[in-house]
Every structure is written in C-alpha cells, then in structure tokens.
C-alpha cells in the first residue's frame, strides 16, 4: 500500500477502506496463526506416529490475505471466489472462523493428485507436513501463491547453499536465471535424491546440450549432447550420467565448477594436490610409481609411461595433454589433438592402440611404440619437447 494511493482517495472513503482492511488483516492474521499452529500440531503427531527423523525448524509466515491495493499476482481459487467455507468454518469473509481440518489434509482435499507426487522416493519435509511453509493459501505477490520470491524462499532455510552461492568465485547461472532453484529441483518430491527432477546428466544437458551457451564469465561452453553423439568412448562419470561427480552445481572456487583441483594448463609440475579431482577415482600410484605391471596398460614392459609423462618437477604433461575429459573417439578418451599455446593451434596426438600396447606418431616427440609385454620390450628412447606452436 503506497502513500500516494491512499492520498489519492477521498478522506472518508480512505478511512472506511483502511478500517475494513485492518479488520480483515486482524481476522486473517488470527486465522493464519491457527493455520500454522494446526500445521505444527500435525507435524508433531505425524512424527510420533511414523517415527520419522526430527523435523527441521521451519519458517513461520504471515498468511494474511494481501489487500487488492498491493496487487497480488496469484490468488487461490476458493479465496478468489469468496468461498471461505471450503476451508474455514464460515463463508463470511470478515469472520471465516477456524479451518475445518489440519492444513495438509485440507490442501490434499482438492490437490489430491499430490498424494501420488508425495509418494515419490525423495520428498521435501515442508511439503510433506505443512504446505503453508511456502504457500499462502489466500493470495500472494509471488506466482504459485509463494510467500516469498522463489530463490529467497529456498535459501531462507537452506543456509549452507545460500553461503555457497554468496561466496563462490565461480558462479552457475542456472541458479539465478529462469525458474532458478526449480530449474533442477522439484520443491515437493522427486524420484531422484536431493529432489532433482531428473538424474544430473539429464538435467545438465537441458542447457548444456545446445550451442551458444556461455558461462558466467561469458566464455562459450561445449554442446555436450553434440560432443557425446560423436564421441562414444566416454569417461566413467559421463557414461554413468553423473556430472556431479566432478562438477558442483551450486557454485565453487575451481574453474568450470569442478569440485576439486585439476590443472588448467597443458604443462604443470607434478604436485598431487593439483590432481585432487582425478585422484578421487583414479589410483594416484598410476603416476607416482616409475615401474608397474598392474596399474596401467600405458607402459613399456614395466616402465610406467604415465609416470614418465606426468611426474616431472617442471613441465609435466597434465591429463588434458592426451585425454579428453568427457569423451573421445579413441579408447581411454585419448584425444585426436590438443589445444597448444594460446593461438588455438591444435597439436595432433596421433595415438594408435595395438593389442599389446600402442604407439604415438611424431608430434610431441618422434614416433614411439610401447608393449605391455615385459619379455618383448621396445627399447626406451629419450624424451623430447613438443614443437613450438606456430
């Protein structure tokens, strides 16, 4: 209600409207408190009955109807129809009395399709026990009768996500555009944990499966759907449709929203901490042991070629030098070519796998072959630097 609006009314009318409005607010506030109290009673009763985990503390809302002058954008049909007795004891808008049943029981009377929704494997506690934690049953200045703007509403309870979003140096635009939290989560219930509407991969390609998507800093991002359609040798988590194994969707401090450290460049001194992301699943010994006959097939006899390439004090080749992180046409996600330098020059990898080993044709170094058989060793050769980018 703005001052301008009030002043523009004739004084007598204004007083009458104000009085009526205050009356209604007082009545509905009382109703709102009753509604909330009923909800919490129901919560306690259900918790005892079903022996569910302790119910988290939930927000309390003012459920008073919003006066028309404040221009509500959504209204509940029974309220809009003035049919108060559908939920309350009386039809009288000025004196509707208490609600007829416990809150959710009352809601599910009409919204009975929600029984099926709430039977999904993962459900939101407030939705399960008290709809009015998020919705005003009369009207609202927000769509869907929400008591507050959707993102603010979610973050008002989910403090850890709120902190993460606020402090992340790398942001994910999915949180702040479109339906925001509801881009990925169903606030009522879902068949996937964390109330995700789909498995992580299926959600991610919803946006990252098209051309022209840019990150928060404006950098163009890969069309993952197109990449995976053309490259069938996929990294385990990609094949397992689990983007969240490596990426943190709410924001983070590593480039590309990676959950842990991963070298961003072609060269890096070997420092295990820089490979925290990889070593969450891959055996660190694979690049730590100079000799092995079990940890990798990228070995010449027992000479560990991963160690040879990666484990260097200065210009160690990082994983990206030879592997695509998502998918490639060759096994082990060996890439055809790697961006080298800052001019967009693509350095060919020229790797060929053989039944007992493999070879790399001249690019980074002269043509080299290797065999896994300890008995038939290919003579070792000295390392060489890659050619300079043109």
């Amino acid at each position: 209600m703005t001052k301008g609006n009030i002043v523009s009314q004739p004084t007598t009318n204004r007083d009458a409207r104000l009085k009526k409005c205050l009356n209604r607010i007082a009545i509905y506030s009382a109703a709102g408190v009753i509604l909330l109290a009923n909800g919490f009673q129901a919560t306690a009763a259900n918790a005892k009955k079903e022996e569910i985990a302790p119910v988290p503390k939930m927000r309390k809302n003012d459920l008073t109807p919003i006066p028309d002058i404040q221009k509500p954008v959504s209204a509940h049909s029974p309220y809009q129809d003035g049919d108060c007795s559908l939920c309350h004891q009386r039809k009288d808008r000025n004196d509707p009395g208490m609600i007829n049943k416990q809150v959710n029981e009352l809601c599910l009377d009409c919204h009975d399709d929600f029984a099926k929704v709430m039977a999904r494997k993962s459900s939101h506690v407030p939705a399960k026990i008290n709809c009015v934690t998020c919705h005003n049953p009369h009207n609202s200045k927000q769509p869907k009768l929400l008591v507050e703007e959707s993102e603010a509403l979610c973050l008002s309870c989910h403090a850890s996500i709120s902190n993460l979003v606020a402090n992340a140096t790398v942001k994910h635009d999915a949180l702040t555009t479109g339906a925001k939290c509801v881009n990925c989560h169903n606030p009522h219930a879902a068949n996937v944990e964390h109330l995700l509407t789909r498995l992580p991969f299926d959600l991610c390609v919803g946006c990252h499966g098209q051309d022209g998507v840019k990150d928060h800093a404006g950098k163009a991002l890969t069309n993952m759907k197109a990449l995976l359609a053309e490259n069938h040798e996929q990294h385990g988590p990609v094949a397992g449709k689990d983007c969240s194994a490596c990426h943190t969707p709410h924001g983070g401090n590593n480039f590309r929203l990676l959950t842990k450290a991963y070298p961003a460049e072609f060269y890096s001194p070997y420092e295990p901490k820089l490979y925290d992301l990889c070593f969450d699943c891959h055996e660190e010994s694979m690049v730590k042991d100079a000799k092995t006959t079990t940890l990798t097939k990228f070995r010449n006899g027992d000479q560990n070629l991963h160690y040879l390439h990666v484990n260097k004090d200065e210009r160690g080749r990082t994983c990206r030098a030879c592997h695509e992180v998502h998918a490639s046409k060759q096994k082990h996600q060996v890439r055809d070519a790697v961006p080298y330098g800052h001019t967009g020059y693509m350095l060919k990898v020229n790797f060929t796998q053989t039944p007992t080993g493999g070879s790399c044709d001249r690019t980074c170094h002269v043509t080299r072959s290797y065999t896994n058989s300890v008995a038939a060793l290919v003579p070792p050769k000295t390392d060489a630097e890659p050619p300079k980018a043109p």
């Binding site: 049909s77 029974p78 129809d81 049919d83 007795s85 559908l86 009377d109 009409c110 919204h111 009975d112 399709d113 929704v117 999904r120 494997k121 509801v182 169903n186 606030p187 009522h188 219930a189 879902a190 068949n191 996937v192 944990e193 964390h194 109330l195 995700l196 509407t197 789909r198 498995l199 992580p200 299926d202 069938h232 040798e233 996929q234 385990g236 988590p237 094949a239 397992g240 689990d242 969240s244 194994a245 070593f279 969450d280 699943c281 891959h282 055996e283 010994s285 092995t292 006959t293 079990t294 940890l295 097939k297 082990h332």
Partner: protein, 270 residues
C-alpha cells in the same frame, strides 16, 4: 547366447561397454580366488553358488569412503539374502588406515588385501570405487561405478536384479527414474475439477460451473464433462446438460455418471 543376452540387457539399461572393467567385460565368467583378509585368514572373492558383490575401494579417497558407508547400509538392509560380500583394498594402504575407515563406515563384510594390486590389474580397474556383481555361475552381470546421486538405490537395484527379485523393467526405472516435472495442464485441470465438485456439493452452482469450465479448458476429461452436465442439470438447463453428458460419453462410452445423467434427463423430460 547367454553372454549375448547379458550384453543386450546391459546395453538396454546403461552404456555398459564404456563402464565395464577394462579386462573383464559383462558376461565373462570370473575366476575365483582366495585372498588374505584385513583381520587375518583368507576369504574367497566370489561364491560358487550365490550372487557375489565385490567392491574395489581405496579408503581415504572421498568417493571410496562414501561408498563404504553406502555399501555398509546395503549390507545391513539386505542381511539374510543369499549374497556373498567382500571389499578389496590395495596392500599399499596401511592396514590401520583401512581398519579405521571400515570401522567408521560400519562395514562388516570381509576386506580382502590385494597384494601388489594383482587383482586390480587382472580386472583392469580404471576408476574406483567400483562394484562388480556376479551371478551363481560367477558370471559378471553388473558393474556399478560411483555415483553422487541415487547411489544407494542403484547398488541395491543391481543386487536385487542379480537375485532376480526385480525385473529388467523395474531395474530400468530405478536406473533411469521418471522425471518429476511440476504441474502441467492435467494437474491444474484436476484441481479445478475438485474445486467445482466441492462447490457443486455446496450448491454453489454458478462458481462450480465457472471452475469446471476452467478445468475443461485445460484438460478435457469424461469426468469433467459429466460434472458439468450435473451442474447444468441442477440449474435446470437440461439441453446443455445432455450435450455435456454426450461429450463425456464421446471420451468414455462407459462413463457411469454420464449414462445416468442422460437417463435422468430423459425421465425428467417425460
């Protein structure tokens, strides 16, 4: 033939070829071995008569620790089922460290020590944690890598499928759960239908008619047309009521309310 069937089932559910152990594809009969355990003595990797579940883990890694917790939960929830369980760790990791993580997770299954990573190399384990499942014939029937979301459900479903407790379709539904989309026209229409129904019961015909019209606009159903017919009949608008009942029967010729409504309208007309 049987191997082909396993591969076909695997392909239907997941991109198995991309996930399988590098040296042991799905459908392979796995050689059984006995390995020393963390607490002393030896234990076999597989059972020759039951479904076996073996987990390559590296205690200390975040994903492996999460797997230990999940698998301990599975072990507890599936207690009593004919499943042969074991975890496998490299002998590089100090035993005390392994024991501490196993204890913290509440794991009770035997933990086998893989000397010189021989088993790791034999299977061609590329990523871990990873769970392998073999059937009564020691045939590798499933492979479950780490997943950050729905992991416990995936593991249990794979085991229950190997035990033949759930069908291919049920497994598929768990591995690829139905999307939980919000609302939709049918859902909104149903709410208007329920509201109209209540308003009709309280003889508020005017608003009941308005709300059933909104419902029909969003998603027409036989039930909604029938309710509209009942409201119109109650208002004395027999001709339109009959038209509404006929619209209901066009969608569902067996709609009892519509059949009764038409019958009632005809009787009243006489």
């Amino acid at each position: 033939m049987r191997r082909l069937a396993y591969l076909a089932a695997g392909g239907m559910l997941w991109s198995w070829s991309a996930l399988a152990f590098a040296n042991v594809p799905i459908g392979t009969v796995v050689e059984n071995v006995a390995l020393p355990t963390l607490t002393g003595g030896e234990h076999s990797l597989l059972s020759d008569t039951n479904v076996s579940v073996f987990i390559f883990v590296k205690p200390g890694q975040e994903h492996s620790n999460q797997t230990l917790v999940q698998i301990a939960k599975c072990e507890k929830e599936m207690a009593g089922k004919p499943v042969h369980w074991c975890a496998i760790v490299s002998d590089r990791i100090p035993k005390a460290e392994v024991a501490a993580e196993v204890r913290a997770a509440g794991l009770t299954m035997p933990v086998l020590i893989d000397k010189g990573d021989a088993l790791y190399g034999k299977f061609g384990v590329v990523l871990h944690p990873v769970i392998g499942i073999t059937d009564q014939d020691r045939r590798l029937v499933a492979y479950q890598p780490f997943a950050k979301v729905n992991y416990g459900a995936f593991i249990q479903a794979q085991i229950r499928h190997a035990l033949k407790e759930i069908s291919d379709e049920e497994l598929s539904e768990i591995l690829k759960p139905t999307a939980a989309v919000l609302g939709g026209d049918a859902s909104v229409a149903h709410r208007f239908f329920r509201l109209a129904e209540k308003q009709f019961q309280s003889t508020n015909y005017l608003q009941a008619l308005a709300n059933i019209s909104k419902s029909l606009e969003k998603h027409p159903t036989a039930a909604a047309h029938s309710l509209r017919g009942r409201i119109l009949a109650a208002q004395g608008n027999r001709a339109e009521a009959v038209a509404a009942f006929e619209a209901a029967l066009a969608l569902d010729p067996h709609d009892a309310t519509a059949l009764e409504g038409i019958k009632g309208s005809k009787e009243n007309a006489h």
